[in-house]
Point group: C2
Chain length 392, copies 2
């Protein structure tokens, strides 16, 4: 790994000013990154959302959601997606000035219509409703329809954790995953997130796609010219394959568990749960009707609901036991699991949410590495929208 300012890029291009670059080895690939400060990335991203027509409050909120993903090291769900959001907005599939409304409620439940707004704005609004209900009655649960991609589930669940609540967040997504025994794309990677406040340790955050592997992992293998492990993807006829291009060629991702023998019906069941809570309950599209994230694919002509759906919840810890007792025991839980006997002494048990927390500390301090190709995309976007380019 080499660090430091370069005047000549590795591809031979000359820069007028010396940007801060960094070479990183990850998944056997060498990436050229631009190291950007949190504040520079925040300003840039806000300007893009303002150019889309969002008001200042919504632009700041959407930016906060995207940035937490980059800060926590989940590069696939951060600013790398900005061009995708813009393309959907250009197709009038994202409404930058949504009238987000509660359309149905009880003291502790609600259904919210996101008015085709950014999920990055609709979901935090809905989570605030869940938190408010939890403050009043112990718990709050909100199903959301007519929304779009909401970023990382963890952002929304962590909003509850800040209030000493347990946070829940899930969303359905474009169909890429098959149920067990099928070769048809019926489900999204449908993530679910559970987040818990600890005391001296960072929050425990279980934030996971319900597929065996994420699309991003296939893309990494494609770039590296490598095969993927069996059990990630099948071809269009339903044969297990190690070809990282299988998904592009009509194949599909496999549910967590990979095959029936290893519990793929469980991964399917979890994904189904996310789909039903997020969409059948809210009135959004479900299963194969979920509108695609990519703008070059058109949504279904016969939708069964509105937009995509999310499901969010918050429960007050002190609805069950005093907060300090819970935190003390969760700290004890974390400490005990960290000290579980390792197979390899150099690889201890990883607590869910721990690597993301460590990335966040590092990146807030040292800057966020943005891959060269993403910087290029973002600056083309900036030029089109007449926004200042991204700089370190």
């Amino acid at each position: 790994m080499c660090e430091g300012p370069l005047h000549t890029c590795f591809d031979g291009a000359q820069h007028d000013t010396p940007p801060v670059f960094k070479l990183t080895l990850r998944d056997s690939l060498i990436y050229l990154h631009m190291l950007v400060t949190e504040s520079a990335l925040r300003t840039f991203t806000q300007n893009i959302f303002l150019a889309m027509g969002c008001n200042a409050e919504h632009a700041a909120l959407a930016t906060d959601v995207l940035l937490l993903s980059d800060l926590r090291g989940i590069d696939s769900h951060g600013v790398a997606r900005l061009t995708g959001y813009i393309r959907l907005w250009e197709k009038h599939r994202i409404n930058p000035t949504p009238n987000i409304q509660i359309v149905h409620e009880t003291p502790t439940t609600a259904t919210i219509d996101g008015d085709a707004g950014l999920g990055l704005v609709v979901a935090p609004y809905a989570m605030q409703v869940a938190i408010k209900k939890a403050e009043l009655y112990g718990s709050g649960w909100v199903a959301i329809r007519n929304s779009n991609h909401f970023g990382i589930a963890g952002y929304h669940a962590l909003m509850a954790v800040e209030k000493d609540m347990i946070g829940f967040a899930m969303t359905n997504a474009s169909p890429l995953v098959t149920p067990t025994f099928s070769n048809e794309r019926m489900l999204g990677t449908n993530p679910m997130c559970y987040a818990f406040p600890a005391g001296k340790y960072p929050p425990v955050v279980v934030d996971m796609a319900t597929s065996a592997a994420a699309v991003g992992k296939l893309e990494i293998a494609q770039r590296a010219g490598k095969q993927v492990p069996k059990g990630w993807v099948q071809d269009k006829d339903g044969n297990d394959t190690t070809d990282p291009h299988a998904l592009k060629n009509g194949g599909s991702l496999l549910p967590l568990g990979s095959d029936r023998d290893h519990g793929s019906h469980k991964g399917f069941g979890l994904s189904a749960t996310v789909d039903i809570l997020s969409a059948v309950l809210s009135g959004a599209n479900y299963g194969p009707w979920v509108p695609p994230f990519v703008a070059f694919l058109e949504p279904s002509d016969n939708p069964v609901g509105k937009g995509i759906g999310h499901f969010l919840g918050a429960m007050r810890v002190d609805g069950f036991r005093p907060v300090n007792e819970f935190k003390d025991h969760l700290d004890n839980w974390v400490a005990r699991f960290k000290s579980a006997s390792p197979i390899d002494p150099n690889q201890k048990v990883i607590i869910p949410g721990e690597p993301e927390y460590e990335a966040e500390i590092d990146r807030r301090k040292n800057g966020i590495p943005i891959v060269d190709a993403v910087v290029k995309d973002l600056n083309e976007l900036a030029e089109k929208l007449k926004v200042s380019p991204l700089t370190p």
Copy 2:
């Protein structure tokens, strides 16, 4: 397969009276079953619980939970476990006359102390509390400590479904499963269940252990003298193995996902979620401190809580949208998934809960097959407790 009354058993034993037997081929093994009517099994089981000292109401309730497991074809969690409960009672680890109490609550949350009672009694009691809260406020959530094994999670979640609610049920269990990167048994098979009311279709019931495979599957392979697939179990040093005896010899079960490449950290995360909600939140034992189900292993000398823990919840469907709308869309969801393109035309997609529903219809009508070895166990138990033996 052959059916009908036999005077001579296949092992050569002579019976005084001709019992109704059935030979079934399952998992490459031929089983000799006694076909028992639901009512005969119910009476027998109630008598066992009465002999344990349960009052009539508790005995009937515990029986109802166990029987639903046998009726739904989940033989591992039904009356086959009766001898296990009795052994725990003999060791004074199950209190047959518990004083089940709410020890903490808000309008929609509660913590219940099960007073070391049967989970089969404590959990339905707790679920009634959750349902009552949901009736009043839209949703209800109950964490339970100081309990014991609660049977199938599906029973409790289905109590909510009967009221047009969505049911949630989970429990922690004796440590047999390792976190990713460890060779130490830290977690139970920690099941989670989500159940949804449909219209013309049976309820959708996702009821799954968060391990790659259940202990029962290893036992089947042991009896058949077969190896198990890689990814189910590891030996005491953390090596993946196909030896079905590995668990008995100090090995451990693997989380759903089996290995890091296939998402075992997700299975670990789900299992951790169940452990934290069931025990860290309620004040029960968690992780390696969870008391073992088998009576020949002693609980920890330094417990971190009381007994084992469960977490149950109910949400009113009409807290989000009218019940008929939800059911119509869930029916549409089920129909669409049933018709998803199959890889093999003879094996269509299985909707979660569908096989169990079909087994229930069949067994209520035609009787419940109880494996010969279990019948023998149960009748030895009956003799010891001076209860009438199990007959067809």
